[in-house]
Symmetry: C2
Subunit: 415 residues, 2 copies
């Protein structure tokens, strides 16, 4: 007998084949990686990030005070609280229902408070399981597709078309006004739809959303509607899918404080699952989501929830509108710049994202060229889906000085 010295032990557990299907890195860590590499190459450069969509402005004091107060209270006998309800504090659920769904008969008990939309998307996917089919806008926020792959709802990635098998990609481009031609979309169980859209910045109109709800109804589909940018809407596009009659029987809405109050690091969001939404056997979807939330989650931080309460006070709401207004002004500067340079520019009006067309060019090439020549980080459109190729997403989240400096560099590059 010879003992085999020093050979590494390997378990006999098979790697989850669904995770192996995922392509390269999740988009934003990949961009962060390239940004770091660029900074190593140009240690002197003043790199400006208009890439990941991360808020940069301080949280209004009225909101941070609410959180600091809660933190202090936790060190007192009267103010201490341990586990809260997994679904969130009653008071906060009620305030969200009243503030954002006051006229829409959404009740406190329909609201599930969370640590953010990304986590809730994944919890929804865990709830749906691996036997559902799904559709996404193309382009779209990568977490929809990636979580679907992880749960095993898809087939392999097909390199030639840059799509996963078994996902219905609903093309959204300037030619169709960024709203899919539903007559060509196959029926799926789940439809992810984000409006105002990340990345295109486009908000669907009432008429379009009415068609979408009817489409879901006709197909017996569940619509997962991501409204994380609703406060950025400046025209009369619906702020919530539940403004559309009948939506409660077909839709779930996911939303977040991240882009309203600068809560990207504080972590607070919510999901609305109306009691009227039912599986084919009549079972209420909300009951299963409640079970998922109670089993796989322990509620958002009580300090973040105190922040949410402060956000929804009259002063908090006013402060959030100012934050949103600041980023909207950034958006205007970016739109003006690209428009003046002769580009075809989309989005911006109802969202903090500007979607710029570079006809016939690869998004990653444009991303690299912009980074190399201006030290500005953007996001390549193809990172959001194949129909995003030939576009760049420019985020309006940045200090004013940085945004103006980036615009100046864009002008130097292309003028």
């Amino acid at each position: 007998m010879f003992a085999v010295c020093c050979e590494a032990h390997t378990t006999k557990v098979s790697r989850n084949a669904n995770i192996a299907k995922l392509q390269a890195g999740y988009l934003f860590p990949e961009i962060a990686r390239r940004r770091s590499a660029h900074m190593l190459k140009y240690p002197e450069a003043q790199v400006i990030s208009l890439g990941i969509g991360d808020t940069t402005e301080p949280i209004p004091e009225v909101i941070t005070s609410g959180m600091a107060k809660k933190a202090h209270a936790l060190s007192t006998l009267e103010g201490y609280s341990g586990y809260g309800a997994e679904q969130g504090e009653k008071q906060l659920r009620a305030a969200i229902a009243l503030t954002y769904y006051g006229d829409l008969s959404i009740e406190e008990s329909d609201i599930f408070v969370s640590d953010g939309a990304k986590s809730d998307i994944s919890r929804l996917q865990v709830m749906f399981g691996s036997n559902v089919t799904m559709a996404v806008q193309d382009p779209s926020y990568p977490a929809y597709v990636d979580s679907s792959v992880i749960l095993g709802q898809t087939g392999q990635f097909q390199k030639d078309v840059e799509k996963y098998r078994n996902i219905e990609y609903m093309k959204c481009n300037p030619e169709n006004g960024f709203f899919p031609d539903l007559s060509t979309v196959s029926r799926t169980d789940i439809i992810f739809f984000c409006s105002p859209n990340n990345p295109t910045g486009n908000a669907a109109t009432r008429e379009q959303l009415t068609r979408l709800v009817q489409f879901a109804k006709d197909n017996g589909s569940i619509l997962v509607y991501d409204s994380a940018y609703a406060m950025y809407i400046s025209d009369d596009s619906p702020r919530s899918i539940f403004e559309i009659p009948g939506a409660k029987e077909v839709a779930i809405e996911v939303s977040s404080f991240s882009k309203y109050a600068g809560f990207t690091g504080v972590r607070l969001g919510w999901t609305v699952v109306p009691k009227e939404l039912r599986y084919s056997d009549g079972f209420p979807v909300a009951k299963d989501f409640n079970r998922i939330v109670c089993t796989t989650f322990n509620g958002a931080s009580n300090i973040s929830q105190a922040g949410g309460m402060a956000c929804l006070s009259p002063e908090g709401l006013e402060a959030m509108h100012k934050v949103v207004g600041f980023y909207k002004e950034n958006t205007n500067r970016i739109m003006e710049t690209f428009t003046s340079l002769g580009f075809s520019v989309y989005g911006g009006q109802n969202a903090p994202y500007v979607w710029v067309r570079f006809p016939g060019q690869s998004s990653w090439d444009v991303f690299s060229e912009i980074l190399e020549k201006t030290h500005v980080v953007t996001t390549p459109g193809s990172g959001f889906g194949p129909a995003g190729d030939g576009f760049i997403r420019v985020s309006a989240f940045g200090h004013r000085g940085n945004v103006l400096e980036a615009c100046k560099r864009f002008k130097q590059l292309w003028q």
Copy 2:
């Protein structure tokens, strides 16, 4: 043609059959429901909860100050931060590695900071997917089994034996010293093991854990080791599975600040996935966990993470030890009470849980009798698995006055 008026629309999406397998409610919400019903029935009663295991003592001021300071900083230009790394702040990961794994060659990059152990258990299950088999201690914390059911790793619940098909239940009872007889345990891909154990309060010895690691190694299994109560250990039982030689090639460790600093509502935990742990094809498990964390999570709240940093300062560590000491004193009182009443009492020495035997009785009956006659909420042992029947878990999380009052009532009931 007759239009059917007012009939409720139902989608054509099939309910996830795995969720339908789950039995009744998740344990703790079910106990909360019964507690509420009891309070309706006896509105005058002073109900004392030694049930859910929820911390009751204020968070030490040195820790809440750290969080309040961070909250205030977020309202300043210099102190603001948006999205952090999904894996947690570098500084906090380093401090966890140093504080809890200083001698064990666990590196900062092996630590994934999270919003708590329950969320991480679910993320681990999503990573493993539906094709793995799993073992749990019987009794055990319900989230292991329930998340396994949700992911589709199990068969149906068998009412006659109170077990799910396809889960290996490793019986832990006084007869085997609360450590499973591994010679009778079938090989599974994943082994969940909690020590100090929730609910039995028993900590495995170094010798037992050495056998467990060897068992996992021989079987090519992955051990998911839950050490959320490690700071409660008062003898020389290992505080971490990584104290056992070779564990890094077979184990993941999940832990939490909840029971050390009263963070049940603040939400902060961590998971250690060593680089040495590999799937059967040699692929590092940590790489997949990193991908799961980046895709389905956006990091723990930055304010909670500031709290974690404060916890790991010299003053914070001292303060946490006091909190733990306070609950340990509660535990002693509860143990003394039941021992003096002639019960067989287990746990307590290394955990804030006391496990009391009621031979031949149903746990839910005992739970109901105690609640009815003393207005004290406990937890029925059978809620943690069939081998927990005939036991009651009494949690030591409570104000001293309440614990003493509960002990008094127990004495009145049984003396």
